[in-house]
């Protein structure tokens, strides 16, 4: 099929598809008139029953926690896939030059690493109080790891940005989520039951065992993302080092 034939076939179909979408969307309640009831019910119950201010994360990590468990494993599987696809048979290169010379970069970079990790931890910790939570915090922590590469260079980065270190952490994060769920099951409760009670509302201790779930998600996301970045950086750095 030539490009011309493809586009000649595709454009009318796309117009029809667009018309279908618009037709469907006219059936949605007018913008701003969300009718519920699901969301409204959750808003009513999540603070009284679970002492969580942030209803979104109460939904994500407790009420619909099983979705998030699946999501953690999606990330888990994808990172395994990326590592597999980008694996380099020649192994890791040890002779990469460290080309970051400026002290200014080092100082500000080091400060930025600390800041990124602190922000990340804060975001995870306050997941049930303010916006944030395991995923956002985890990526922020991982970006701190990425900054380490900028500051310290490839060799230091690759000392911890590799599978031997990160695979167990990632697996403990994802596995921990399931184990917390199983703990409830062993105790005779439904899988993923929040079994610690709510904790103090409005503090980092709110959330009960969903708090642990949130933390294990944070660990998994951070480790998985560092590994992801590391694999892509590897792809960039190692061939250049070898080629030149």
């Amino acid at each position: 099929m030539t490009r011309r034939v493809r586009i000649g076939l595709f454009l009318p179909a796309l117009a029809g598809f667009g018309a279908l979408l618009v037709w469907a969307y006219t059936g949605i309640p007018s913008f701003g008139d969300y009718q519920g009831p699901y969301g409204f019910v959750l808003e009513k119950i999540s603070a009284p029953l679970r002492h969580m201010d942030n209803v979104v994360n109460a939904t994500t990590y407790d009420i619909r926690g099983i979705d998030t468990m699946g999501e953690e494993f999606i990330l888990f599987a994808a990172v395994i896939g990326v590592v597999l696809l980008l694996r380099d048979d020649a192994g890791r290169s040890q002779d990469v030059e460290d080309d970051i010379g400026s002290d200014v970069v080092r100082v500000f970079g080091t400060l930025a690493i600390g800041a990124a990790i602190l922000v990340g931890l804060w975001l995870v910790a306050n997941g049930f109080v303010t916006p944030g939570g395991g995923f956002q915090g985890g990526v922020a922590i991982a970006s701190g790891g990425l900054l380490l590469y900028l500051v310290a260079g490839y060799r230091e980065w690759s000392a911890f940005g590799n599978e031997t270190v990160l695979d167990p952490i990632k697996a403990i994060g994802a596995g921990g989520y399931v184990v917390i769920g199983l703990a409830a099951l062993v105790g005779g409760l439904p899988f993923l039951t929040n079994f610690f009670g709510g904790g103090d509302i409005g503090t980092v201790w709110s959330g009960g065992s969903a708090g642990f779930v949130n933390w294990s998600a944070g660990i998994e996301v951070a480790a998985a993302n560092v590994l992801l970045f590391s694999e892509f950086l590897e792809e960039y750095i190692v061939p250049i080092a070898r080629g030149s």
Partner: protein
Amino acid sequence: MTWALPLPVVVPLVAAALATAGDHLLPRRLGDAIGVAGAAGGFAFSLVILLASEKHTQLTWFGGWKPRGGAAIGVAFVADPLGAGLAALASGLVLASILYSWSFLRDAGRPYDVLMLLFGGAMAGFALTGDIFNMFVWFELMGVAAYALAGFEVSQVGPLQGAINFAVSNTVGAYFILTGIALLYARTGALNLADIGHSLAGHRPDGLIIVALTLLVCGFLIKAAVAPFHLWLADAHAVAPAPVCVLFSGVMVVVGLLGVTRCYWTVFDASLAPQAHDVRSVLVALGIFTALLGAVMAFLQRHLKRLLAYSTISHMGIALVGVALLDERSLGGAADLLLAHGLLKASLFLCCGILLVRFEDIDELRLHGKGRALPVLGVMFGLGAVALSGLPYVGTYLGHAQIDEGAALDGIDWVQPLLMIAAGVSSAAILRAGARVFLGWGPTSDPLLSPEPSESPPERSASMPALLGVTAVVLVLGLAVSVAPGLGQRVEQAAGRARDRIAYVDRVLRSRETPSPRPPVAIEATTTDSVLYGIGGVVIALGLALVGLYRRRLPELVLGPLRAALGPPIALLRAAHSGVIGDYVAWITVGTAVVGGVWALLLRR
């Protein structure tokens, strides 16, 4: 029993996490054992749930979030026998594939087992969940694990392109599904299937409902590889390792059809029951088209895995007809057919793996006669091929017979001969390949068959008895499906329950149980018509296989017109299967627009 419900998903996922965590720490054999234990545990719990679900539909609310005021709050797993059966088939085939891979892909490393476990767990989750967004989550986990497995052998362009085509097509499908979910949520404010159906009940279908139906059905049909959404499937199969193909062909595509079945009967039936006739006609047409197209394409292949992949497409078309007829007998027939097909096709792919190990090739023409050295494998291959053609009381026969009878009851009598032809042609392709490889029949060249890039498989060392053993077990199970006492009746009862929306709502939202009576234990009786159609399928398969092998001995008087009549359409078909992802997504758009457009015209009446 409710405590066991999450375990077919949870056990493989925990095993995957453990195996990954211990990859650099534990001895290798222990890691292998964790993988097998995870798969075996998932399979065992699926069987336990399947048996329990036959008495009562099993239900558990995650986190203990039970419905309040008759509306769902949390996410539920709802195991009816149809879903639990698919979970069992999926985890059983994962177990077989992991065992086979032990000697087939010794150097694959831990990530391979881990991805297999995640793939299996995700399929079980999809089959068991009662929540439409949770379906999407498992669908995506299944997809991500599968894309990585498809690109597993990264040393060649072919596998990579196959994996990309697979990933992009299925991701587009996933977004269609998500858009459909969003539309249903906008209308009903619910994500639980029973809840959504309950809110839609009695409302006439409007644009939103019709388009949500279109997006969900087309999204799932991409996964089910129904034409014109099927183009990615042969690419993905051609490149994936044989044990991975087992999962792709045996269960992953079936998951797509379960998605259609589940969504239709729990959600859309509430609104569309009066217009069911129009839903049926569109889906039956797609099914027949797919069955014939897949069969013809299978006949044109010489790469064995690709040939089997197109034959899978053909069988998915036949099964879609069973689903689409919307009656109990046909749906049960589709389930029986898919069970037998899953096992038989799995054993055929495992046979291909053995050929690859032994001869480092998988091309029908290059393997000409080499299979004589492996007579046992030849017999297994031939049995698998014949059992797929619908020979009475063997393999897929029961499913065919039930679909035929369902079609007759619905008064659509032209369907059965077409399905017979499709099954015959795709089996003919497998038989022809088998005769060429294992008997050395026919010439060593054939311009009719698609040229394939020669690919050198990675070197493998394997224990032949172990590979043959796993293959034989799967094959025997597949052959026995049609004569397993009571199976037909039990599956039909399961299909009836999957169709019963009122009982589903009662169970999920009101905790009201409706126990099922025990069906009689007897070999399913079939009509004379079905026996005749079955024999017809075998005759077509054998005859056409011979024609495929010895075509050149036909007189020019027959051959000339045949070539003139079939040449151009075949060239056109080949051109459509271009291997270019842009074309594939264009066809997906065309298919969705046409299906949606036709339903828009028919269902609004």
